[in-house]
């Protein structure tokens, strides 16, 4: 095994992760969560039209491959005159994808908060929006950390798909180095280990957040 190659390629790969994979995942997750909250509230709306819109969105996102979604946005939309650079196209596609999956998590988390909490907020005089933001969502957040962490970890790995729309993230770097050196096994394994490292760090972060949010819960 060519240890020199491993040593030489480590930094370019890690750098691809730090400037490509991680920012792409963070930006998409942040935007995706906002979108997910909107979709979750649509689904919970008593208005049948709004609720249907939310359901349709979730169904479309979950029912179609992420790779195909990426292709539609990057290669398909330009034919309709809507043209995105690789990075914006990737962020749009990943955000929309997270929006669909996380919406179900957030919806379930909101529903898991007892109805009495809403009523307590209202009788204290708060509007439904304020009750949602100050009373319900903080409690829902706690329940949704584990499943949302799952979504985020999946997203980190899924960003490797962005390579097909020419985003230079870690996996694209790996492909370049592998093609140049012809050491496919070594380079792709190395890339896999760096993804694994990222996800391990994230799982640790999840534990820390859970612990922090658990302080008000009886054990």
């Amino acid at each position: 095994m060519d240890w020199q190659l491993v040593a030489d390629s480590f930094w370019p790969l890690l750098r691809g992760g730090l400037v490509g994979t991680i920012p792409l995942a963070l930006a998409s997750f942040a935007i995706g969560l906002v979108l997910a909250l909107v979709v979750a509230l649509l689904r919970l709306s008593p208005n049948p039209v709004l609720s249907w819109v939310g359901r349709a969105y979730v169904s479309l996102i979950r029912g179609t491959p992420l790779l195909v979604q990426l292709f539609i946005i990057f290669y398909g939309l330009p034919q309709l005159g809507v043209r995105f650079d690789p990075w914006p196209a990737a962020i749009i596609a990943f955000s929309m994808n997270v929006g669909g999956y996380a919406a179900e998590v957030i919806r379930a988390a909101i529903l898991s908060v007892p109805k009495g909490q809403w009523e307590a907020g209202w009788t204290v005089g708060m509007s439904p929006v304020r009750t949602l933001s100050r009373i319900i969502l903080p409690q829902a957040a706690r329940v949704s950390v584990p499943p949302l962490s799952n979504t985020f970890i999946s997203l980190v790995k899924d960003t490797s798909l962005a390579t097909v729309i020419l985003v230079t993230e870690m996996f694209r770097k790996a492909q370049e180095i592998a093609a140049f050196s012809n050491e496919f096994m070594v380079i792709y394994t190395e890339a896999a280990l760096i993804y694994w490292m990222f996800c391990t760090v994230l799982a640790t972060g999840q534990n820390a957040i859970e612990k922090r949010l658990d302080r008000y819960v009886a054990h």
């Binding site: 009523e119 005089g125 008000y216």
Partner: protein, 285 residues
Amino acid sequence: MSPTDPSDRPEPSDRPVPDTLLTARGIEKSFGTNHVLRGVDLEVRRGEVIALIGPSGSGKTTVLRSLNGLETPDAGLVQVAGGPVVDFGAQAAATTGAWAGRRAGARRAKADRAALRDRSAMVFQHHNLFPHRTVLENVIEGPTQVKRIPRATAVNRAEELLARVGLEDKRDAYPHELSGGQQQRVGIVRALALEPDLLLFDEPTSALDPELVGEVLTVMKELADEGWTMVVVTHELQFARQVADEVLFLDGGVVVERGAPAQIFSQPAEERTRRFLDRILHPLD
């Protein structure tokens, strides 16, 4: 710790009898085919304590929840503390029909609920404290977020109220660190901090261990002695007897009998009242 001075807010000119604090007329409510309220009237004067008693399913909790819009009756009028008369029948009619009409109806329903909630506060059977906030934060949430009272003022007042119920040392505890009785006392303090005209209690001791009931009832009795206006749904007949000015016995969605506690408990006029009291007072016979 005294009820809000009524002179604090502008008095509408069409205010009825001056010391009537709450008027409810013809409250009706169905859940599906279950007709739980069949026209309930209620009148409470300032400083009075009204106890609602009756078997489970009699509608007493639904009456209470209608008074602050947690339940939306199908028909009936409610007015609290000189506020607008909320006409639930008209509201129900307005929320059907075309889209624009429904929008207007929804706006009206919202204003109606606000009118009731601005003037009353509720103590729940399961306290419904906010578990992610400390005792102090629970108490100042309404004053600071809704009434826009400066935080320092709200904190001072919250500390006074907590001291009144013997919980000054619990201000930084989370609700799950308290006993059931302490939780319910915080629930009462949270309601008092809103300085409502009317305090509503929904079976405040039903979920408590028997040995914790007394500390909550003691606080409630003190509030009554201080002149707070209270409507209390309760199974604590002894409390109703000692503290209430009037007792209403509900069964099957109607007020079967109402009167002074001495009369209701000693010489109930109605057979249904008598049977209910018998079952509660002599459960083994």
